[in-house]
Symmetry: C2
């Protein structure tokens, strides 16, 4: 039963859903033309309010299912009864894939992946999603653990690209990188003190570039998994670049090299 | 008198000063090891407070002059009596030059400049300063009119690089670009609908890349001054990149091309 094609297709679909909550965040998401809405969840206890009418109208116009729940059920869906304001919404992240599904169909070749290790600032995460989506890079590898939560701030900073960006999801970066390595991928850690500099790196084959936390860099466990280390050379004694800028330089590099 | 070498040197020095105000912004600036402090201005009416003691101690340790003024004088210095909280500070922007001074000594050659036309978000401005400072680009051209004010937000987003970044100051971008053009510079406007794409552009000589406002792009007057237009190609139907990301890709391009 759990291996039937229907079950697996359903699981894949539900893995692509992002649940957000709160009246303003839901309204703003619906005002973004890139958003795909699957379901709108409302609490039966909501008192009438113009913002709710607006949300319901927009959701229906997008073809979303509108469901009513009791307060307790809604808090199960939003997972945040204190801040959900009686509303939650399932959005479809069309470009999201679980790393097991991705690797099952993966053909090694010339691939650039950007992987994030504890990037906690939602603005940086949103900008990285936007840049990787626009760039020639194959996909972004985004672990559930350690990175900024996908929320209204990330959606905004991504300029709506969150809903179409190619993103490979995993629980922890460690297990995902290990799985990619068995497929022949080379894991490259961005490090300020690396010996190899961007302009001298040979970048053939499947390469995963790991970017670490804004303050602490790559975590020791992930660092040990790296096959190579790489730095971006900097002038004027600048110590580091913004992590979203670093991700963008790597993601667009193949284009700039031509 | 107004043309004496002493007068001109003094004028150059004062053009490099940035006055900030408010207790928290001044303390945070002093906690940044990159900051150069010229003078600390205090109102005689300030009541004793631990944060003031801390600020005075840090400013003295950096060799800054500490001056006391009456409230009215201080508001002349801070230019914001409502928010100065009885304190202002003159910081030295070591890499700043007025465009007239810069062009007087300018030798045409292989130069990349990034010029900003109404970039109003302080975080974007700070990130651009940080990236240009670290990059092989020659300098950032930053007009006083239209762009975000240099304040505590910009300092923070620049990660302290504001105090050493090579920045050419002008009143308006128009007059500065015109002056550069008389020296043979080519002005290139970044535009989403440009025909020439980054990977096909020949980038010899002195080139000034103009980046426009986050929402509206380059203003019509500046656009008419551009000799060429350039776009960054984008995949997945992404409409635009963050302006700081665009600036970084242009600024680091010569490095990535090698």
């Amino acid at each position: 039963m759990q291996d039937s094609p229907e079950y697996l297709a359903r699981k894949k679909f539900f893995n692509r859903l992002l649940t957000i909550y709160g009246r303003k965040p839901c309204l703003e998401a619906l005002q973004d033309k890139h958003v795909q809405v699957y379901r709108l969840h409302l609490s039966e206890s909501n008192k009438p309010a113009p913002i709710l009418d607006e949300i319901i109208a927009l959701a229906k116009a997008r073809g979303a299912e509108v469901l009513y729940h009791d307060k307790r059920q809604l808090s199960h869906i939003s997972k945040n009864s204190k801040q959900d304001q009686g509303i939650a919404m399932d959005l479809v992240l069309a470009g999201f894939t679980e790393h097991e599904d991705y690797l099952a169909d993966f053909t090694p070749g010339e691939h650039t992946f950007i992987a994030l290790d504890s990037v906690t600032n939602p603005q940086n995460l949103g900008m990285i999603i936007r840049s990787v989506c626009a760039s020639p890079a194959t996909a972004l590898i985004l672990p559930r653990k350690g990175c900024a939560k996908l929320d209204a701030l990330v959606i905004k900073a991504s300029a709506g690209t969150l809903f179409k960006a190619p993103v490979i999801r995993c629980d922890t970066l460690m297990s995902c990188l290990q799985a990619f390595k068995t497929k022949g991928a080379c894991v490259v850690g961005l490090a300020l003190d690396a010996k190899t500099s961007l302009e001298n790196e040979s970048s053939a084959g499947t390469r995963i570039y790991v970017l670490g936390n804004e303050t602490d860099g790559i975590s020791p466990d992930v660092s040990r998994l790296c096959d190579e280390q790489l730095k971006i050379p900097m002038r004027n004694g600048v110590e580091s670049l913004n992590v979203a800028v670093t991700a963008s330089l790597i993601a667009f590099r193949s284009l700039l090299r031509q």
